[in-house]
Amino acid sequence: MLPTPDTSHVSFDTIYEPSEDSYLFLDTLSSASESKWLSERFQKSSGPSDNSINAVPLVVETGTGSGVVLGFVAAHSQQIFGRQDILTLGTDVNRNACIATGKTVSTAIQSIQHKQENTENNPNLQTVHISSITADLCTSLRPGSVDVLLFNPPYVPSEDLPRLPTAAENDPAVAQAMSRSARFESDSYFLSLTYAGGVDGMETTNRLLDAIPGILSARGVAYVLLCKQNRPDEVMTRIREWGGWCAENAGSSGMQAGWEKLVIVRIWREGN
């Protein structure tokens, strides 16, 4: 089993603590079948160098939280994508999560590089984390630029969908000046953003799904986690009805009354 990135530096007051769903992401992406699928898609050609094939993949995670998932794929890109050179970028609506992610991913990359230094003849891990930005899903990314999109959404059905934070709410100076009770309110609000998904737990996920055809590159693939209440089978049927798109169950966990509690769906263009 590949090691899980260290998140001991993260304060979980406003950030989602790695849980069953996060670990399902790690297990799914590093499973033999999924790594094989991804490596066939992204590994460099051994023949004469073809730049478009060898182009470094851009791996984006939306809603990174602690950064445990993005850190994992960055550190283990050889095992998962069959190459040592990927670019990672994370987005989250919580500025604290962006700071945490930057540290988690860089530390995960460095720890692998450090191990490699002590082993001769090992190809070097070149993967670079280019940034963590405060953003709503992938609304600020250039169309057609993302090769791998990862999303562990707020998927719990909830009466209301929490609104997105304002610049002031994300300002560390404002948070520092808060009274204890205001701070508690603010922390609870940020935590609600990590799990509350509105109607069927799908309001945020639906916005991300709608953006997929525009944001993925021709070779692009997205992994989106769903829970039972999100009705994964219906979601996959809906994606296939876009025309020209495939959706498959890439990994699942926790059988409950004959249903998987959590499912990770792989979404990609037909014939690509």
């Binding site: 730049n51 470094v56 050179d85 970028l89 934070p165």
Partner: protein, 126 residues
């Protein structure tokens, strides 16, 4: 935020998506910090196909890196170590710590603080 990021982001305002002037976003008052990284020629060579060259040239000028070739290096030019080193320095070693990214279409300013850019829009723009 590494400079290469600017090549992958655009204005978050929906109406700007179709406007060619919303990419690249324009740096203003950028404060840079260098962070040394191992130079890996092959890595940079494989990053180049990912780059929107016109966009990068605009960014490079705004940040005071004037020496980029007019067209994207291809074929033999990819063997030129100095070009690769310059790109390595600009794209991966240069971090923007403070400043703004401004949309050429709507003029919205995305603020960068302590290396993290804020692309969340105020509610009247969502």
């Amino acid at each position: 935020m590494k400079v290469i990021t600017a090549n992958f982001v655009t204005c978050a305002v929906k109406e700007c998506k179709t406007s060619p002037t919303s990419f690249p976003l324009h740096f203003h008052d950028a404060e840079l910090e260098m962070q040394e990284l191992d130079f890996q020629p092959e890595f940079i060579r494989n990053v180049i196909p990912r780059i929107d060259w016109e966009g990068l040239r605009v960014t490079a000028n705004e940040l005071g890196f004037p020496s980029l070739p007019e067209s994207k290096p291809e074929g033999e030019a990819l063997g030129d170590e100095q070009t690769l080193k310059d790109l390595h320095r600009l794209l991966l070693e240069t971090q923007v710590m403070e400043g703004k990214l401004i949309c050429g279409n709507c003029g919205h300013e995305y603020v960068i603080k302590e290396g993290i850019a804020n692309f969340l829009l105020p509610s009247h723009l969502v």
